[in-house]
């Protein structure tokens, strides 16, 4: 016996036209399997009707919006919509170069000098020195929010009064006492995770810049890996952009990103 599965959904919805409904009802009169299924489908439909909508976390779109802004500002010709007049970009580049001398004085001596939250982190920071590539993962018992990540980027460019791993309550979400420290992530896994999360899906291009710091912490409660990258404008110019990329350490998905420019 063939069963009119494709009609049963609309029959349960009460949306069949008269002729089709009569066909289905004739079939139901002789098919117990379909009668059972119709009863089950009605019960399921009623159960789903009472499922409420769940409020979405407010920061879900932050990464995409940050990326849209980043593309609009830094890669107007490569995927981001053209919107800035040419003079704007040239003015920005000129300002960046002009600021570079200041950055030399401010940025490099500060990179890695801030207090870390573990001995390993402190050792790593001390070993790193100024703008040397990261070689280990710092573990921080810190729950960052977007402001905290922005503060990390800002402090990495050498802004007065801001330091890595700050306990400033205005920029970090306090860690709940019940938070279980995650298993330590190896440096290679952390870098792979950042690469996986932030590789450009079209260009297959890994994150730009020199990775100078890798931090294992949390972002809005989600176990996360934070990568601090220093970007050079090229042609021997000094670094003037610090970018912080944050990926979930569980699924290697983008959580957020931000950057600070001197």
């Amino acid at each position: 016996m063939s069963h009119p599965d494709a009609l049963l959904a609309e029959y349960v919805d009460g949306a069949l036209a008269e002729g089709e409904r009569a066909v289905v009802e004739r079939h139901l009169g002789s098919c117990e399997r379909c009668r059972d299924e119709v009863a089950l489908a009605r019960a399921a439909r009623a159960a789903l009707a009472s499922v409420p909508e769940t409020p979405a976390p407010s920061d879900l779109s932050a990464a995409a919006i940050a990326e849209a802004r980043r593309r609009a500002e830094s890669h107007p010709a490569a995927g981001a919509p053209p919107g800035r007049p040419a003079w704007y970009r040239w003015a920005g580049a000129a300002a960046g170069i002009a600021a570079a001398l200041l950055v030399v004085a401010l940025v490099l001596p500060h990179v890695g000098n801030a207090p870390a939250t573990t001995k390993a982190a402190g050792d790593a920071a001390a070993a790193r020195g100024a703008a040397s590539p990261a070689t280990s993962v710092e573990t921080q018992n810190v729950n960052y929010d977007l402001a905290g990540v922005e503060s990390l980027a800002t402090s990495s460019r050498g802004q007065e009064g801001a330091v890595f791993g700050s306990n400033d309550q205005a920029t970090q979400v306090p860690v709940a006492a019940s938070v279980t420290p995650e298993k330590r992530i190896s440096f290679a896994d952390a870098v792979t995770c950042l690469d996986r999360a932030f590789t450009d899906p079209t260009g297959q291009q890994a994150p730009e810049g020199q990775l100078v710091r890798v931090i294992q912490a949390r972002y809005r409660g989600v176990p996360a890996v934070l990568g601090v990258y220093l970007l050079c404008p090229g042609a021997g110019q000094p670094t003037n952009i610090v970018r912080v990329l944050v990926a979930s350490s569980g699924g290697c998905s983008i959580l957020t990103s931000t950057q600070a420019t001197a």
Binding site: E37, A49, L60, E67, R84
Partner: protein
């Protein structure tokens, strides 16, 4: 009060260089996309990952959006694909969960966690049972019965014939009811059951 700006107009403005238009677009659809991903994937953290993947894909692919379908249809397709991708990734054993998983909190191991404190026990049954419905049926079911999307639009989202959608929705409903432990009110009579036997 002015009517809300159509999605397609926001897309057009974004493609002309207005980043704010993209922000309005994703903020407008954040709630809907999150609930779709949450019900398809069954885990709040995975759903959050899928939503972020969705919006980043939308950002990357928006130039390919030709307006052949409504923006919402196109975006739902991107979201469903993000869910499928994440689901496949989870099945392949993720990179950073290989060792020491016993140290992680339950919610990070993909164990279903209640996502809405106010949900009644019956609702929770339906939400929990949804995870046991085969994925293809579940996606069609979520779009039809939780998002009230027309079968024709679901067919466009999933790029399958409309008959396939209707069949999946029906099979999904039956699977859900069985996963909830609901039994048909009509017990199978031996004489009738034997009719279907070869």
């Amino acid at each position: 009060m002015d009517p809300p700006e159509p999605d397609e107009e926001l897309v057009r403005r974004f493609l002309l260089g207005e980043t704010d238009a993209f922000e309005r677009l994703v903020e407008r659809h954040r709630q809907r996309v999150y609930n779709l991903c949450l019900r398809v994937l069954g885990d709040p953290e995975d759903a959050a990952d899928a939503v972020q993947d969705t919006f980043l894909s939308v950002l990357t692919k928006l130039r390919q959006f030709r307006g052949d379908a409504a923006f919402t249809t196109w975006m739902h397709r991107v979201a469903v694909n993000a869910c499928y991708d994440l689901s496949r990734k989870r099945r392949r054993q993720p990179l950073l969960r290989l060792a020491g998983d016993q140290d992680l909190p339950e919610s990070e191991l993909g164990t279903p966690v209640p996502d809405h404190a106010e949900e009644s026990a019956g609702t929770h049954d339906a939400v929990a049972a949804l995870r046991e419905v085969p994925e293809e049926f579940r996606v069609a079911l979520v779009l039809a019965d939780l998002h009230d999307m027309a079968y024709e639009q679901i067919a466009k989202v999933l790029d399958v014939p409309i008959g396939t959608v209707k069949s999946r929705v029906h099979r999904g409903r039956v699977a859900l009811a069985r996963a909830m432990g609901i039994t048909s009110r009509e017990p199978e009579a031996p004489a009738r059951a034997s009719e279907d036997q070869p």
